[in-house]
Amino acid sequence: MGTRVEDLRYTSYDGERRGSVACVAALTRQSALHALGFGRSWRAKFIPLGLIALCFGPAIVVLGLRALFAQQFPEPLTDLVPYEAYYNVISIGILALAGVVAPDLLCPDRRDRVLDLYFATAVSPRQYLVAKLAAALVPLLGVTLAPVLFLFGGNVLFALHPFGYLQDHLGDLARIVTAGFVIASFYGLLGLAASSLTARRAFAMGGLVGLLIASSATGGVLVEGLGADSSAQLLALPAIPIVLAERIFPDGDDLVGVGTAGWLLAYAAVCVVALAVLLFRYRGSDE
Protein backbone atom coordinates (compact mmCIF):
# COMPACT_ATOMS: atom_id res chain seq x y z
CA MET A 1 0.00 0.00 0.00
CA GLY A 2 1.53 3.31 -1.03
CA THR A 3 1.76 6.36 1.15
CA ARG A 4 0.22 9.60 0.00
CA VAL A 5 1.60 12.88 1.22
CA GLU A 6 -0.95 15.69 1.43
CA ASP A 7 0.38 19.20 0.97
CA LEU A 8 -1.92 21.43 2.98
CA ARG A 9 -0.03 24.70 2.59
CA TYR A 10 -2.14 27.69 1.75
CA THR A 11 -2.10 28.49 -1.92
CA SER A 12 -3.86 31.20 -3.81
CA TYR A 13 -6.85 30.03 -5.84
CA ASP A 14 -6.57 30.53 -9.58
CA GLY A 15 -9.19 28.01 -10.65
CA GLU A 16 -12.67 28.40 -12.08
CA ARG A 17 -15.07 30.93 -10.56
CA ARG A 18 -18.67 30.40 -11.50
CA GLY A 19 -21.30 33.04 -12.07
CA SER A 20 -24.27 34.13 -9.99
CA VAL A 21 -26.54 31.38 -11.33
CA ALA A 22 -24.20 28.69 -9.99
CA CYS A 23 -24.01 30.49 -6.63
CA VAL A 24 -27.82 30.63 -6.39
CA ALA A 25 -28.01 26.95 -7.41
CA ALA A 26 -25.52 26.07 -4.66
CA LEU A 27 -27.60 27.93 -2.09
CA THR A 28 -30.77 26.26 -3.39
CA ARG A 29 -29.26 22.78 -3.16
CA GLN A 30 -27.87 23.32 0.31
CA SER A 31 -31.12 24.85 1.57
CA ALA A 32 -33.32 22.12 0.08
CA LEU A 33 -31.16 19.38 1.61
CA HIS A 34 -31.21 21.23 4.95
CA ALA A 35 -35.03 21.51 4.83
CA LEU A 36 -35.30 17.80 4.14
CA GLY A 37 -33.01 17.08 7.09
CA PHE A 38 -29.99 15.80 5.19
CA GLY A 39 -26.79 16.16 7.20
CA ARG A 40 -28.87 16.75 10.33
CA SER A 41 -30.31 14.72 13.19
CA TRP A 42 -32.79 11.88 12.54
CA ARG A 43 -35.57 14.06 13.99
CA ALA A 44 -34.92 16.76 11.42
CA LYS A 45 -35.20 14.12 8.67
CA PHE A 46 -38.15 12.24 10.14
CA ILE A 47 -40.77 14.99 10.00
CA PRO A 48 -40.41 16.21 6.38
CA LEU A 49 -39.65 12.80 4.93
CA GLY A 50 -42.45 11.26 6.99
CA LEU A 51 -44.95 13.83 5.72
CA ILE A 52 -43.86 13.21 2.14
CA ALA A 53 -44.25 9.46 2.67
CA LEU A 54 -47.72 10.02 4.18
CA CYS A 55 -48.82 11.97 1.13
CA PHE A 56 -47.88 9.00 -1.03
CA GLY A 57 -50.24 6.88 1.09
CA PRO A 58 -53.46 7.30 -0.94
CA ALA A 59 -51.64 6.59 -4.20
CA ILE A 60 -49.99 3.50 -2.76
CA VAL A 61 -53.32 2.22 -1.38
CA VAL A 62 -55.18 2.80 -4.64
CA LEU A 63 -52.49 1.20 -6.76
CA GLY A 64 -52.11 -1.65 -4.29
CA LEU A 65 -55.84 -2.38 -4.33
CA ARG A 66 -55.81 -2.26 -8.08
CA ALA A 67 -52.91 -4.67 -8.25
CA LEU A 68 -54.51 -7.12 -5.85
CA PHE A 69 -58.23 -6.84 -6.39
CA ALA A 70 -58.84 -5.30 -9.79
CA GLN A 71 -60.95 -8.24 -10.99
CA GLN A 72 -63.38 -8.03 -8.07
CA PHE A 73 -64.54 -4.42 -8.69
CA PRO A 74 -66.71 -3.37 -11.62
CA GLU A 75 -65.42 0.26 -11.60
CA PRO A 76 -61.76 1.13 -12.12
CA LEU A 77 -60.30 1.50 -8.63
CA THR A 78 -58.26 4.52 -9.69
CA ASP A 79 -61.52 6.46 -9.87
CA LEU A 80 -61.65 6.27 -6.07
CA VAL A 81 -59.08 9.05 -5.96
CA PRO A 82 -58.97 10.87 -9.31
CA TYR A 83 -56.00 13.17 -9.92
CA GLU A 84 -57.97 16.37 -9.29
CA ALA A 85 -59.24 15.05 -5.94
CA TYR A 86 -55.83 13.93 -4.72
CA TYR A 87 -54.82 17.41 -3.55
CA ASN A 88 -57.84 17.70 -1.31
CA VAL A 89 -57.10 14.31 0.24
CA ILE A 90 -53.53 15.29 1.15
CA SER A 91 -54.21 18.98 1.86
CA ILE A 92 -53.37 18.61 5.57
CA GLY A 93 -50.07 17.00 4.65
CA ILE A 94 -49.23 19.86 2.29
CA LEU A 95 -50.09 22.43 4.95
CA ALA A 96 -48.02 20.62 7.58
CA LEU A 97 -45.02 20.28 5.29
CA ALA A 98 -45.15 23.97 4.41
CA GLY A 99 -45.31 24.73 8.12
CA VAL A 100 -42.21 22.65 8.76
CA VAL A 101 -40.10 23.48 5.72
CA ALA A 102 -40.54 27.21 5.20
CA PRO A 103 -39.50 28.30 8.72
CA ASP A 104 -36.49 25.97 8.51
CA LEU A 105 -35.34 27.74 5.36
CA LEU A 106 -35.35 31.31 6.66
CA CYS A 107 -35.50 31.49 10.45
CA PRO A 108 -32.13 29.92 11.36
CA ASP A 109 -30.27 32.27 9.00
CA ARG A 110 -31.89 35.28 10.63
CA ARG A 111 -31.53 33.89 14.16
CA ASP A 112 -27.84 33.09 13.72
CA ARG A 113 -27.22 36.33 11.74
CA VAL A 114 -25.75 34.37 8.85
CA LEU A 115 -27.29 36.86 6.42
CA ASP A 116 -24.37 39.23 7.02
CA LEU A 117 -22.07 36.57 5.64
CA TYR A 118 -24.34 35.54 2.78
CA PHE A 119 -24.78 39.08 1.52
CA ALA A 120 -21.02 39.65 1.78
CA THR A 121 -20.56 36.83 -0.75
CA ALA A 122 -21.68 37.03 -4.34
CA VAL A 123 -25.34 36.47 -3.35
CA SER A 124 -27.58 39.51 -3.16
CA PRO A 125 -30.72 39.63 -0.98
CA ARG A 126 -32.92 39.01 -4.02
CA GLN A 127 -30.83 36.11 -5.21
CA TYR A 128 -31.03 34.74 -1.69
CA LEU A 129 -34.82 34.88 -1.90
CA VAL A 130 -34.87 33.18 -5.30
CA ALA A 131 -32.69 30.38 -3.91
CA LYS A 132 -34.87 29.96 -0.82
CA LEU A 133 -38.09 29.89 -2.86
CA ALA A 134 -36.61 27.29 -5.19
CA ALA A 135 -35.45 25.33 -2.15
CA ALA A 136 -38.96 25.46 -0.67
CA LEU A 137 -40.40 24.07 -3.91
CA VAL A 138 -38.26 20.93 -3.76
CA PRO A 139 -39.88 19.33 -0.67
CA LEU A 140 -43.28 20.83 -1.47
CA LEU A 141 -43.26 19.29 -4.93
CA GLY A 142 -42.52 16.07 -3.10
CA VAL A 143 -46.13 16.19 -1.90
CA THR A 144 -47.92 18.22 -4.56
CA LEU A 145 -46.36 16.59 -7.61
CA ALA A 146 -44.51 13.36 -6.82
CA PRO A 147 -47.45 11.32 -5.38
CA VAL A 148 -49.81 12.28 -8.22
CA LEU A 149 -47.09 11.47 -10.76
CA PHE A 150 -46.65 8.16 -8.95
CA LEU A 151 -50.39 7.51 -9.27
CA PHE A 152 -50.26 8.43 -12.94
CA GLY A 153 -47.26 6.12 -13.47
CA GLY A 154 -49.13 3.30 -11.73
CA ASN A 155 -52.18 3.84 -13.90
CA VAL A 156 -49.99 3.65 -16.99
CA LEU A 157 -48.39 0.43 -15.81
CA PHE A 158 -51.69 -1.21 -14.85
CA ALA A 159 -53.49 -0.17 -18.02
CA LEU A 160 -54.30 -2.91 -20.53
CA HIS A 161 -52.36 -0.94 -23.14
CA PRO A 162 -49.82 1.24 -21.27
CA PHE A 163 -48.61 3.15 -24.33
CA GLY A 164 -52.14 3.77 -25.46
CA TYR A 165 -53.07 5.02 -21.98
CA LEU A 166 -50.02 7.30 -21.95
CA GLN A 167 -50.89 8.73 -25.36
CA ASP A 168 -54.52 9.29 -24.35
CA HIS A 169 -53.61 10.93 -21.04
CA LEU A 170 -50.63 13.13 -21.94
CA GLY A 171 -52.85 16.10 -21.20
CA ASP A 172 -53.32 14.79 -17.66
CA LEU A 173 -49.56 14.65 -17.25
CA ALA A 174 -49.23 18.33 -18.13
CA ARG A 175 -52.13 19.18 -15.79
CA ILE A 176 -50.56 17.20 -12.94
CA VAL A 177 -47.27 19.08 -13.33
CA THR A 178 -49.02 22.45 -13.56
CA ALA A 179 -51.24 21.75 -10.56
CA GLY A 180 -48.24 20.58 -8.55
CA PHE A 181 -46.39 23.83 -9.21
CA VAL A 182 -49.50 25.95 -8.56
CA ILE A 183 -49.95 24.51 -5.06
CA ALA A 184 -46.23 24.31 -4.20
CA SER A 185 -45.59 27.91 -5.31
CA PHE A 186 -48.53 29.19 -3.26
CA TYR A 187 -47.47 27.42 -0.06
CA GLY A 188 -43.81 28.20 -0.71
CA LEU A 189 -44.41 31.93 -1.04
CA LEU A 190 -46.90 32.12 1.82
CA GLY A 191 -44.71 30.00 4.11
CA LEU A 192 -41.58 32.01 3.38
CA ALA A 193 -43.42 35.31 3.81
CA ALA A 194 -44.68 34.22 7.24
CA SER A 195 -41.23 32.92 8.17
CA SER A 196 -39.53 36.13 7.12
CA LEU A 197 -41.32 37.98 9.93
CA THR A 198 -39.56 36.20 12.77
CA ALA A 199 -36.27 34.55 13.67
CA ARG A 200 -38.04 31.87 15.72
CA ARG A 201 -39.06 28.69 13.87
CA ALA A 202 -41.84 27.88 16.32
CA PHE A 203 -43.41 31.33 15.90
CA ALA A 204 -43.21 31.09 12.12
CA MET A 205 -44.72 27.61 12.09
CA GLY A 206 -47.48 28.59 14.52
CA GLY A 207 -48.16 31.82 12.66
CA LEU A 208 -48.44 30.12 9.28
CA VAL A 209 -50.62 27.24 10.44
CA GLY A 210 -52.72 29.63 12.55
CA LEU A 211 -53.23 31.97 9.60
CA LEU A 212 -54.31 29.13 7.32
CA ILE A 213 -56.69 27.61 9.85
CA ALA A 214 -58.13 30.96 10.94
CA SER A 215 -58.71 32.04 7.34
CA SER A 216 -60.39 28.73 6.57
CA ALA A 217 -62.64 29.02 9.62
CA THR A 218 -63.52 32.62 8.77
CA GLY A 219 -64.50 31.72 5.22
CA GLY A 220 -66.55 28.74 6.44
CA VAL A 221 -68.39 30.65 9.16
CA LEU A 222 -69.21 33.55 6.84
CA VAL A 223 -70.65 31.33 4.12
CA GLU A 224 -72.13 28.44 6.07
CA GLY A 225 -73.03 30.15 9.34
CA LEU A 226 -73.92 33.70 8.38
CA GLY A 227 -75.09 33.03 4.86
CA ALA A 228 -72.62 35.43 3.30
CA ASP A 229 -72.00 35.50 -0.43
CA SER A 230 -70.10 32.45 -1.69
CA SER A 231 -67.21 34.73 -2.67
CA ALA A 232 -66.37 34.83 1.05
CA GLN A 233 -64.94 31.34 0.46
CA LEU A 234 -61.99 33.12 -1.13
CA LEU A 235 -60.94 34.10 2.38
CA ALA A 236 -60.08 30.46 3.07
CA LEU A 237 -56.39 30.55 2.11
CA PRO A 238 -55.80 26.77 2.05
CA ALA A 239 -58.69 26.32 -0.38
CA ILE A 240 -57.31 28.77 -2.95
CA PRO A 241 -54.51 26.66 -4.51
CA ILE A 242 -56.41 23.39 -4.06
CA VAL A 243 -59.54 24.59 -5.87
CA LEU A 244 -57.43 26.24 -8.55
CA ALA A 245 -55.47 23.02 -9.05
CA GLU A 246 -58.71 21.02 -9.28
CA ARG A 247 -60.00 23.34 -11.96
CA ILE A 248 -56.96 22.70 -14.10
CA PHE A 249 -58.48 19.26 -14.74
CA PRO A 250 -61.53 18.97 -17.03
CA ASP A 251 -63.49 16.99 -14.44
CA GLY A 252 -62.72 19.42 -11.64
CA ASP A 253 -66.06 20.26 -10.02
CA ASP A 254 -67.28 23.80 -9.58
CA LEU A 255 -68.79 23.03 -6.17
CA VAL A 256 -67.80 26.19 -4.42
CA GLY A 257 -69.83 28.56 -6.52
CA VAL A 258 -67.03 31.01 -7.26
CA GLY A 259 -65.73 31.30 -10.81
CA THR A 260 -62.23 30.24 -11.76
CA ALA A 261 -61.32 33.88 -12.38
CA GLY A 262 -62.18 34.67 -8.77
CA TRP A 263 -59.92 31.91 -7.47
CA LEU A 264 -57.18 32.96 -9.86
CA LEU A 265 -57.45 36.54 -8.66
CA ALA A 266 -57.31 35.45 -5.01
CA TYR A 267 -54.29 33.25 -5.80
CA ALA A 268 -52.48 36.10 -7.53
CA ALA A 269 -53.33 38.54 -4.72
CA VAL A 270 -51.97 36.24 -2.01
CA CYS A 271 -48.79 35.56 -4.02
CA VAL A 272 -48.22 39.28 -4.67
CA VAL A 273 -48.69 40.17 -1.00
CA ALA A 274 -46.38 37.35 0.09
CA LEU A 275 -43.77 38.44 -2.44
CA ALA A 276 -44.04 42.05 -1.30
CA VAL A 277 -43.51 41.00 2.32
CA LEU A 278 -40.45 38.98 1.33
CA LEU A 279 -38.95 41.79 -0.75
CA PHE A 280 -39.54 44.24 2.08
CA ARG A 281 -37.99 41.97 4.70
CA TYR A 282 -34.97 41.25 2.46
CA ARG A 283 -34.58 44.68 0.94
CA GLY A 284 -30.87 44.74 1.89
CA SER A 285 -29.29 45.97 5.08
CA ASP A 286 -28.90 49.51 3.85
CA GLU A 287 -32.15 50.25 2.07
Binding site: L8, E16, G39, R113, V114, A122, S124
Partner: protein, 303 residues
Amino acid sequence: MAAIRAEGVSKRYGTVEALRDVTVAVDETATGLLGANGAGKSTLMRALLGLVRPDAGSLGILGLDAAHDGDAIRRRVGYMPEGHCLPREPSAHAFVVHLAELRGLPRRAAVLRASEVLFQVGLEEERSRPIGTFSTGMRQRVKLAQALVHGPELVVLDEPTAGLDPAGREEMLRLVRRLSAELGIRVLFSSHVLEDVARTCDAVVVLRDGEVVTAGRLDALQGASTAATAVRVSGDAAAFCSALERRGLEPVAAGDRYVVQGADAAVFDAIRDAAAESGAGLRLLAPASPTIEDILVGAMEEA
Protein backbone atom coordinates in the same frame (compact mmCIF):
# COMPACT_ATOMS: atom_id res chain seq x y z
CA MET B 1 -4.15 53.22 -8.11
CA ALA B 2 -4.56 52.67 -4.36
CA ALA B 3 -5.97 49.28 -3.30
CA ILE B 4 -8.53 51.04 -1.11
CA ARG B 5 -9.80 54.50 -1.89
CA ALA B 6 -12.48 56.66 -0.32
CA GLU B 7 -13.28 60.15 -1.54
CA GLY B 8 -15.60 62.43 0.39
CA VAL B 9 -17.63 59.54 1.77
CA SER B 10 -20.48 60.41 4.10
CA LYS B 11 -23.14 58.17 5.59
CA ARG B 12 -25.91 59.03 7.98
CA TYR B 13 -28.25 56.70 9.90
CA GLY B 14 -31.13 58.86 11.06
CA THR B 15 -29.59 61.50 13.27
CA VAL B 16 -26.27 59.66 13.61
CA GLU B 17 -23.53 60.67 11.20
CA ALA B 18 -21.55 57.44 10.83
CA LEU B 19 -19.07 58.78 8.26
CA ARG B 20 -18.24 62.42 7.59
CA ASP B 21 -16.42 63.35 4.40
CA VAL B 22 -13.98 60.46 4.69
CA THR B 23 -11.14 60.74 2.19
CA VAL B 24 -8.33 58.23 2.36
CA ALA B 25 -6.16 56.12 0.08
CA VAL B 26 -4.54 52.92 1.29
CA ASP B 27 -2.03 50.85 -0.61
CA GLU B 28 -0.17 49.01 2.13
CA THR B 29 -0.30 45.22 2.46
CA ALA B 30 -1.76 45.42 5.96
CA THR B 31 -3.71 48.45 7.08
CA GLY B 32 -5.35 48.98 10.44
CA LEU B 33 -8.60 50.86 10.83
CA LEU B 34 -8.37 52.23 14.32
CA GLY B 35 -11.03 53.96 16.34
CA ALA B 36 -13.27 53.70 19.35
CA ASN B 37 -16.59 51.85 19.18
CA GLY B 38 -18.94 53.90 17.00
CA ALA B 39 -16.10 55.68 15.18
CA GLY B 40 -17.39 54.43 11.81
CA LYS B 41 -15.00 51.54 11.16
CA SER B 42 -17.65 48.90 10.40
CA THR B 43 -19.67 51.32 8.28
CA LEU B 44 -16.60 52.18 6.21
CA MET B 45 -15.79 48.48 5.75
CA ARG B 46 -19.34 47.62 4.75
CA ALA B 47 -19.42 50.57 2.35
CA LEU B 48 -16.19 49.34 0.75
CA LEU B 49 -17.83 45.95 0.17
CA GLY B 50 -20.88 47.56 -1.37
CA LEU B 51 -23.10 46.42 1.51
CA VAL B 52 -23.83 49.97 2.63
CA ARG B 53 -24.62 52.74 0.16
CA PRO B 54 -22.95 56.02 1.12
CA ASP B 55 -25.01 59.22 1.02
CA ALA B 56 -22.16 61.02 -0.69
CA GLY B 57 -18.72 60.31 -2.11
CA SER B 58 -17.19 57.35 -3.88
CA LEU B 59 -15.34 54.24 -2.79
CA GLY B 60 -13.00 51.99 -4.69
CA ILE B 61 -11.40 48.70 -3.80
CA LEU B 62 -8.87 46.80 -5.94
CA GLY B 63 -9.62 49.20 -8.78
CA LEU B 64 -13.36 48.46 -8.68
CA ASP B 65 -16.13 50.88 -7.85
CA ALA B 66 -17.97 49.85 -4.68
CA ALA B 67 -21.24 51.40 -5.86
CA HIS B 68 -21.41 49.44 -9.13
CA ASP B 69 -19.12 46.45 -8.81
CA GLY B 70 -20.34 45.06 -5.48
CA ASP B 71 -20.59 41.50 -6.85
CA ALA B 72 -17.10 41.53 -8.34
CA ILE B 73 -15.66 43.06 -5.17
CA ARG B 74 -17.24 40.46 -2.93
CA ARG B 75 -15.77 37.68 -5.10
CA ARG B 76 -12.25 39.10 -4.85
CA VAL B 77 -12.45 40.17 -1.23
CA GLY B 78 -12.91 38.10 1.90
CA TYR B 79 -15.00 39.55 4.71
CA MET B 80 -15.02 38.59 8.35
CA PRO B 81 -17.89 40.44 10.04
CA GLU B 82 -17.87 41.53 13.64
CA GLY B 83 -19.93 39.54 16.13
CA HIS B 84 -21.75 36.25 15.93
CA CYS B 85 -22.72 35.26 12.38
CA LEU B 86 -22.28 31.50 12.15
CA PRO B 87 -24.97 28.81 12.01
CA ARG B 88 -25.07 26.24 14.81
CA GLU B 89 -25.85 23.01 13.02
CA PRO B 90 -23.33 22.45 10.23
CA SER B 91 -19.75 21.41 10.77
CA ALA B 92 -17.00 23.98 10.23
CA HIS B 93 -15.96 22.16 7.07
CA ALA B 94 -19.48 21.95 5.61
CA PHE B 95 -20.09 25.63 6.27
CA VAL B 96 -16.80 26.81 4.78
CA VAL B 97 -17.43 24.62 1.71
CA HIS B 98 -20.89 26.19 1.38
CA LEU B 99 -19.52 29.74 1.60
CA ALA B 100 -16.86 28.88 -1.00
CA GLU B 101 -19.58 27.67 -3.37
CA LEU B 102 -21.50 30.89 -2.82
CA ARG B 103 -18.38 32.75 -3.93
CA GLY B 104 -18.35 30.82 -7.19
CA LEU B 105 -16.00 27.91 -6.52
CA PRO B 106 -17.02 24.56 -8.01
CA ARG B 107 -17.87 21.99 -5.34
CA ARG B 108 -14.72 19.90 -5.68
CA ALA B 109 -12.47 22.96 -5.43
CA ALA B 110 -14.56 24.26 -2.53
CA VAL B 111 -14.05 21.03 -0.57
CA LEU B 112 -10.28 21.11 -1.11
CA ARG B 113 -9.96 24.80 -0.31
CA ALA B 114 -12.04 24.44 2.85
CA SER B 115 -9.69 21.73 4.15
CA GLU B 116 -6.72 23.91 3.29
CA VAL B 117 -7.88 27.07 5.05
CA LEU B 118 -9.20 25.22 8.09
CA PHE B 119 -5.74 23.71 8.43
CA GLN B 120 -4.21 27.16 8.09
CA VAL B 121 -6.35 28.61 10.88
CA GLY B 122 -5.66 25.62 13.12
CA LEU B 123 -9.04 23.88 12.94
CA GLU B 124 -8.03 20.73 11.09
CA GLU B 125 -8.88 18.51 14.06
CA GLU B 126 -12.25 20.07 14.81
CA ARG B 127 -13.46 20.64 11.27
CA SER B 128 -16.16 17.96 11.48
CA ARG B 129 -17.67 19.25 14.72
CA PRO B 130 -20.88 21.32 14.63
CA ILE B 131 -20.06 25.02 14.90
CA GLY B 132 -22.54 25.33 17.76
CA THR B 133 -20.14 23.40 19.98
CA PHE B 134 -17.20 25.74 19.28
CA SER B 135 -15.63 28.24 21.67
CA THR B 136 -15.52 31.94 20.75
CA GLY B 137 -11.93 31.60 19.57
CA MET B 138 -12.78 28.67 17.33
CA ARG B 139 -15.75 30.52 15.89
CA GLN B 140 -13.48 33.46 15.06
CA ARG B 141 -11.21 31.06 13.22
CA VAL B 142 -14.13 29.65 11.24
CA LYS B 143 -15.03 33.22 10.30
CA LEU B 144 -11.46 33.83 9.19
CA ALA B 145 -11.41 30.55 7.24
CA GLN B 146 -14.56 31.43 5.31
CA ALA B 147 -13.06 34.82 4.48
CA LEU B 148 -9.99 33.13 2.99
CA VAL B 149 -11.51 30.10 1.30
CA HIS B 150 -11.99 31.63 -2.15
CA GLY B 151 -8.40 32.91 -2.34
CA PRO B 152 -9.17 36.60 -1.94
CA GLU B 153 -6.73 39.34 -2.89
CA LEU B 154 -7.81 41.30 0.16
CA VAL B 155 -9.47 40.35 3.43
CA VAL B 156 -11.54 42.77 5.45
CA LEU B 157 -11.44 41.79 9.11
CA ASP B 158 -13.88 43.58 11.37
CA GLU B 159 -12.70 43.36 14.99
CA PRO B 160 -11.32 39.81 14.68
CA THR B 161 -10.01 39.83 18.26
CA ALA B 162 -13.32 40.89 19.83
CA GLY B 163 -14.37 38.61 22.66
CA LEU B 164 -11.20 36.53 22.65
CA ASP B 165 -9.24 35.63 25.77
CA PRO B 166 -5.54 36.68 25.86
CA ALA B 167 -4.32 33.39 24.37
CA GLY B 168 -6.96 33.47 21.64
CA ARG B 169 -6.20 37.10 20.88
CA GLU B 170 -2.50 36.33 20.60
CA GLU B 171 -3.20 33.47 18.21
CA MET B 172 -5.57 35.56 16.08
CA LEU B 173 -3.05 38.41 15.82
CA ARG B 174 -0.40 35.91 14.76
CA LEU B 175 -2.73 34.55 12.08
CA VAL B 176 -3.62 38.03 10.83
CA ARG B 177 0.02 39.05 10.60
CA ARG B 178 0.77 35.86 8.74
CA LEU B 179 -1.84 36.67 6.09
CA SER B 180 0.05 39.71 4.86
CA ALA B 181 3.60 38.76 5.83
CA GLU B 182 3.67 35.17 4.55
CA LEU B 183 0.63 34.53 2.39
CA GLY B 184 0.71 37.81 0.48
CA ILE B 185 -2.93 38.72 1.12
CA ARG B 186 -3.79 42.37 1.63
CA VAL B 187 -5.43 42.94 4.98
CA LEU B 188 -7.77 45.66 6.19
CA PHE B 189 -8.06 45.12 9.92
CA SER B 190 -10.32 47.07 12.22
CA SER B 191 -9.82 47.34 15.94
CA HIS B 192 -10.24 49.71 18.80
CA VAL B 193 -7.04 48.35 20.34
CA LEU B 194 -3.97 50.22 19.15
CA GLU B 195 -1.59 47.45 20.12
CA ASP B 196 -3.41 44.98 17.87
CA VAL B 197 -3.07 47.32 14.89
CA ALA B 198 0.57 48.16 15.67
CA ARG B 199 1.45 44.46 15.81
CA THR B 200 -0.32 43.37 12.65
CA CYS B 201 -0.32 46.31 10.27
CA ASP B 202 2.09 48.44 8.25
CA ALA B 203 -0.25 51.42 8.01
CA VAL B 204 -3.10 52.89 9.98
CA VAL B 205 -6.21 54.95 9.36
CA VAL B 206 -7.52 56.51 12.54
CA LEU B 207 -11.23 57.34 12.68
CA ARG B 208 -13.02 59.39 15.28
CA ASP B 209 -16.71 60.26 15.14
CA GLY B 210 -16.83 59.26 11.48
CA GLU B 211 -13.88 61.41 10.45
CA VAL B 212 -10.33 60.47 9.48
CA VAL B 213 -8.00 61.85 12.14
CA THR B 214 -4.74 60.67 10.65
CA ALA B 215 -3.57 58.07 8.15
CA GLY B 216 -0.26 56.76 6.90
CA ARG B 217 2.46 54.19 7.35
CA LEU B 218 3.22 53.47 10.99
CA ASP B 219 6.97 53.92 10.51
CA ALA B 220 6.43 57.19 8.63
CA LEU B 221 4.15 58.49 11.38
CA GLN B 222 6.77 57.62 13.95
CA GLY B 223 9.62 59.00 11.83
CA ALA B 224 7.77 62.26 11.29
CA SER B 225 8.04 63.06 14.96
CA THR B 226 11.33 64.41 16.32
CA ALA B 227 13.77 61.63 17.22
CA ALA B 228 15.46 61.77 20.61
CA THR B 229 17.76 59.63 22.77
CA ALA B 230 17.41 58.83 26.46
CA VAL B 231 20.58 58.45 28.56
CA ARG B 232 21.07 57.34 32.15
CA VAL B 233 24.47 57.53 33.77
CA SER B 234 26.12 56.62 37.04
CA GLY B 235 28.80 58.80 38.67
CA ASP B 236 29.16 62.53 38.09
CA ALA B 237 26.01 63.43 36.13
CA ALA B 238 26.76 67.18 36.20
CA ALA B 239 30.17 66.65 34.59
CA PHE B 240 28.53 64.37 32.00
CA CYS B 241 25.97 67.06 31.14
CA SER B 242 28.69 69.70 30.84
CA ALA B 243 30.63 67.42 28.52
CA LEU B 244 27.49 66.94 26.41
CA GLU B 245 26.90 70.71 26.23
CA ARG B 246 30.48 71.24 25.05
CA ARG B 247 29.61 68.89 22.18
CA GLY B 248 26.59 70.98 21.20
CA LEU B 249 23.89 68.80 22.83
CA GLU B 250 21.32 70.05 25.31
CA PRO B 251 20.45 67.36 27.86
CA VAL B 252 17.03 67.72 29.46
CA ALA B 253 16.46 65.97 32.78
CA ALA B 254 13.52 63.52 32.68
CA GLY B 255 13.27 61.60 35.93
CA ASP B 256 16.37 59.48 36.41
CA ARG B 257 17.56 60.07 32.88
CA TYR B 258 18.46 62.78 30.39
CA VAL B 259 16.95 63.24 26.95
CA VAL B 260 18.95 64.69 24.10
CA GLN B 261 17.56 65.58 20.68
CA GLY B 262 18.62 63.38 17.78
CA ALA B 263 19.05 59.66 17.40
CA ASP B 264 21.77 59.27 14.80
CA ALA B 265 25.37 58.00 14.92
CA ALA B 266 26.81 61.49 15.60
CA VAL B 267 24.66 61.86 18.72
CA PHE B 268 25.59 58.38 19.97
CA ASP B 269 29.32 59.18 19.43
CA ALA B 270 28.97 62.46 21.33
CA ILE B 271 27.29 60.67 24.27
CA ARG B 272 30.01 58.03 24.34
CA ASP B 273 32.78 60.68 24.28
CA ALA B 274 31.04 62.79 26.98
CA ALA B 275 30.79 59.74 29.24
CA ALA B 276 34.48 58.90 28.69
CA GLU B 277 35.55 62.50 29.35
CA SER B 278 33.49 62.89 32.55
CA GLY B 279 34.18 59.39 33.87
CA ALA B 280 30.44 58.66 34.13
CA GLY B 281 29.15 55.14 33.57
CA LEU B 282 26.59 54.70 30.76
CA ARG B 283 23.65 52.72 32.16
CA LEU B 284 21.02 53.34 29.47
CA LEU B 285 21.12 54.49 25.87
CA ALA B 286 17.71 54.13 24.22
CA PRO B 287 15.40 55.87 21.75
CA ALA B 288 13.25 58.46 23.47
CA SER B 289 10.93 59.11 20.50
CA PRO B 290 7.25 59.20 21.25
CA THR B 291 5.60 55.81 20.76
CA ILE B 292 3.04 55.27 18.01
CA GLU B 293 0.47 55.40 20.78
CA ASP B 294 1.67 58.87 21.83
CA ILE B 295 1.49 60.05 18.23
CA LEU B 296 -1.99 58.67 17.52
CA VAL B 297 -3.43 59.79 20.83
CA GLY B 298 -1.94 63.23 20.20
CA ALA B 299 -3.48 63.32 16.72
CA MET B 300 -6.88 62.32 18.11
CA GLU B 301 -6.68 64.99 20.78
CA GLU B 302 -5.71 67.64 18.24
CA ALA B 303 -8.58 66.71 15.90
